[in-house]
């Protein structure tokens, strides 16, 4: 009989399937970070003064801040002066997909997301962010008819400056944390969404992020506003080319839900995790994602499937300010080989009758280390607040780790809190049971892991659920514990 360890080893050796680099001419400013670099970024993007000033204010604040060290992650010091803070494909202002660089389209094809087909497919509008500048936007007209604004962040700054100015930094202030502050200073582009009163967005909004320039930091900024009674589902998916040097990614996402509005934000993240042997070269993903349920009966739901990156530091959170508002967090995170993830959520209950649900599923294989870190805070005024948290981890093999840090802070005695946590190995008994029915260990692990993640996958929009299942198979296929 082959030992389980052998099966693990042979299957964990699978290479990253989406590793390639597209050779597109791009305009990159030399590495380094100072006020003049920030002025250059702002200039290149023709930004108004208020935004430049906000960037500079953030930069000055960042200089005073220290990189956080409380995460259960280890990585070499990042030299912020060796990073180039701006990279944009040279070609601009495209009328149609025909004008998009054929090589870029080819890239999408390799990723299995042909833009042209997506236009026709299942009503998904794609705002493709390639490196830092949006180069193609589809379905714009249809969305426009519904009154929905879905565009690149830079375009929003030009076309809807009042909206941007009103909401930027209101959920994640520029002082928030080291990486969010850095992002506020140097962010290059991202997405902007505004759903007007009473509008149900006619399609899922989707952005594919790509990191394509060697040695270029990626600082995305996303702002989504759902006005009274509106509804939107937003999908974010990422893959990246193989690289030798570490690539820093520090995005900020801000969500604002007004009265009776719903925002559903789904992520499938599959950035290059680093060399399977050494862990070198993977993406560092330090992301700040936060939403506020500003008014009564609003709802924000985060769903994430994290399979990539060398280091993940990410806590999509909800501030439940409006009475009766609802926050949800559904997460599947996988760490394989040398990957490390410190991820979770924060639910801050301010309003009465607010409700939050946390379902976190962690899978560790190889030498992967994973931490769930979650905070549930019930403030004094949050009468009858309720939280349900469930954090489950499975371990595949004996060299990985799972850690759980739940923080609970309750300041109102009427709160109802439930917390469940489990950690288990993919049991030899489960594997043997499958084997005894003629099912191979590879298929068994895939079956068990997908079963384990089912509650979260059920929350994903259909097309993402399929992609997520596929990603799990690529990442873990056949690893046995």
């Amino acid at each position: 009989m082959p030992s389980d360890q052998k099966i693990i080893d042979s299957n964990l050796e699978k290479d990253y399937e989406y590793g390639f680099v597209t050779d597109i001419e791009s305009e990159t400013i030399p590495p380094g970070l100072n006020e003049s670099v920030i002025e250059t970024i702002s200039q290149k993007k023709n930004e108004p003064d208020w935004l430049l000033n906000w960037r500079l204010k953030s930069f000055r604040h960042w200089l005073k801040k220290r990189e956080p060290d409380w995460g259960n992650i280890k990585y070499p010091d990042i030299d912020y002066q060796s990073i180039s803070y701006f990279s944009a494909p040279k070609k601009k202002k495209l009328e149609s997909l025909d004008e998009v660089d054929p090589q870029l389209l080819e890239t999408y094809n390799k990723l299995g997301i042909p833009l042209e087909e997506q236009k026709m497919l299942s009503g998904v509008a794609v705002d493709a962010v390639f490196d830092s500048v949006s180069v193609a936007t589809t379905f714009k007209q249809e969305l426009k008819n519904a009154g929905v604004i879905f565009c690149s962040f830079s375009e929003a700054v030009r076309e809807y400056p009042d909206l941007v100015r009103k909401y930027l930094g209101t959920v994640v202030p520029y002082t928030d944390n080291y990486f969010a502050t850095l992002n506020s200073a140097v962010f290059t582009d991202g997405s902007f969404v505004y759903i007007p009163k009473g509008v149900r967005c006619p399609m899922e909004l989707s952005t594919y992020f790509r990191i394509n320039e060697a040695n270029t930091g990626q600082f995305e900024r996303t702002l989504i506003i759902a006005d009274e009674g509106s509804h939107v589902s937003y999908l974010e998916g990422c893959t990246a080319p193989m690289r030798d040097e570490n690539q820093l990614h520090a995005a900020v996402v801000e969500l604002i839900a007004h009265k009776d509005a719903t925002i559903k934000y789904s992520t499938v993240q599959n950035w290059y995790p680093g060399d399977p042997e050494t862990g070198k070269g993977g993406i560092y993903n330090f992301v700040t994602k936060r939403g506020i349920c500003l008014e009564k009966n609003s709802r924000i739901s985060w769903t994430q499937v994290e399979t990539g990156s060398a280091v993940t530091w990410k806590y999509p959170s909800c501030i439940l300010k409006g009475d009766g508002s609802v926050g949800e967090f559904y997460s599947v995170a996988v760490t394989n080989n040398h990957q490390q993830a410190d991820t979770g959520t924060k639910m801050i209950h301010l309003g009465k009758n607010t409700k939050s649900t946390i379902i976190s599923k962690g899978i560790s294989a190889g030498k992967g280390q994973q931490t769930y870190r979650g905070e549930v805070k019930i403030m004094k005024g949050a009468k009858q607040a309720r939280n349900f948290s469930q954090c489950d981890s499975i371990l595949i093999g004996d060299k990985c780790g799972a850690h759980t840090f739940p923080y609970i802070d309750v300041r109102n005695s009427s709160a109802q809190m439930e917390h469940e946590a489990t950690t288990s190995n993919i049991g030899e008994d489960q594997l043997f049971y499958c084997n005894q029915r003629g099912i191979s260990s590879e298929d068994a692990v895939s079956m068990i892991v997908n079963g384990f993640c089912k509650e979260v996958f059920n929350e994903l929009p259909m097309e993402f659920a399929v992609e997520a299942t596929k990603l799990m198979e690529i990442t873990l296929e056949g690893s046995v514990g």
Partner: protein
């Protein structure tokens, strides 16, 4: 069908089976009876190839081929099935999906095409009726939240669907009330044929009232101390195991 010759096996340095000889021909039902700790479960685990057991000596032949080096799934695909004493739960894994995956693995191995969803459902519904199980079984996760009786029925459902040639029933009667026992025995009996064989492992005689064995072997301390016909089971029921212990 199955030939075990002078089998010595154990876990780590602990010897559990100390020279087992057993020949099972097609169409036969063999019962192995023994007290806890006599080596019953080790015997079934060694035949099915569970990891963690060492074989010190002897041979296991299935259809005249030595199988000791075969993986558990190869043995399963070749037609060896075990109804588990403690079937494990697999949260989130749909029972139908699991059963279909198992059946299609077997069909693929036999060079047959996958059975489609409709064909599969029709097949399973028939088996469900035979076992007095309702269709809600198919929607549940494998063994999750199942009662003891439900788990055992689910095992038999799998057996009837996969149609193995050699079925090992590991303490299938434990935790069953008399009605469930009868239903399961009927399921097993309906599966009996001149081409199939059974190895029924049990502590008590009561299952053997409903599944009549052709041979009974008494396992004590890793050895068969006595073999005989079905009347041996009744004798054990009356006298206990004590009189056979040296």
């Amino acid at each position: 069908m199955l030939a075990i010759k002078d089998l010595h096996a154990g876990v780590e340095d602990k010897k559990i089976l100390k020279g087992i000889d057993l020949i099972i021909n097609p169409g036969e039902v063999h019962a192995v009876m023994g007290k806890n700790g006599s080596g019953k479960s080790t015997l079934s685990n060694v035949i099915t190839g569970k990891d963690g057991y060492d074989i010190y000596d002897g041979q296991i032949l299935y259809k005249n081929e030595p199988i000791i080096d075969w993986t558990p799934e190869k043995r399963a695909l070749a037609g060896i099935f075990m109804s588990f004493q403690y079937p494990v739960a697999m949260p989130g894994v749909n029972n139908t999906y699991f059963l279909k995956a198992a059946l299609n693995a077997k069909r693929k191995n036999a060079g047959k095409k996958d059975l489609d969803a409709a064909g599969f459902l029709k097949l399973v519904k028939e088996k469900l009726d035979d076992l007095d199980m309702d269709a809600s079984y198919l929607k549940r996760s494998v063994n999750e939240g199942f009662s003891g009786g439900e788990k055992k029925r689910n095992e038999i459902l799998q057996m009837l669907t996969l149609e193995p040639e050699l079925s090992i029933m590991d303490e299938t009667d434990s935790g069953l009330d008399i009605d469930a026992l009868k239903i399961i025995a009927n399921g097993v009996n309906s599966h009996r044929s001149s081409k199939r064989a059974f190895l029924v492992i049990t502590h008590y005689q009561r299952l053997l009232k409903y599944i009549e064995p052709d041979f009974v072997h008494v396992l004590i301390d890793g050895k068969f101390v006595k073999s005989g016909g079905k009347e041996l089971a009744l004798e054990l029921e009356k006298k206990g195991y004590h009189w056979l212990e040296s």
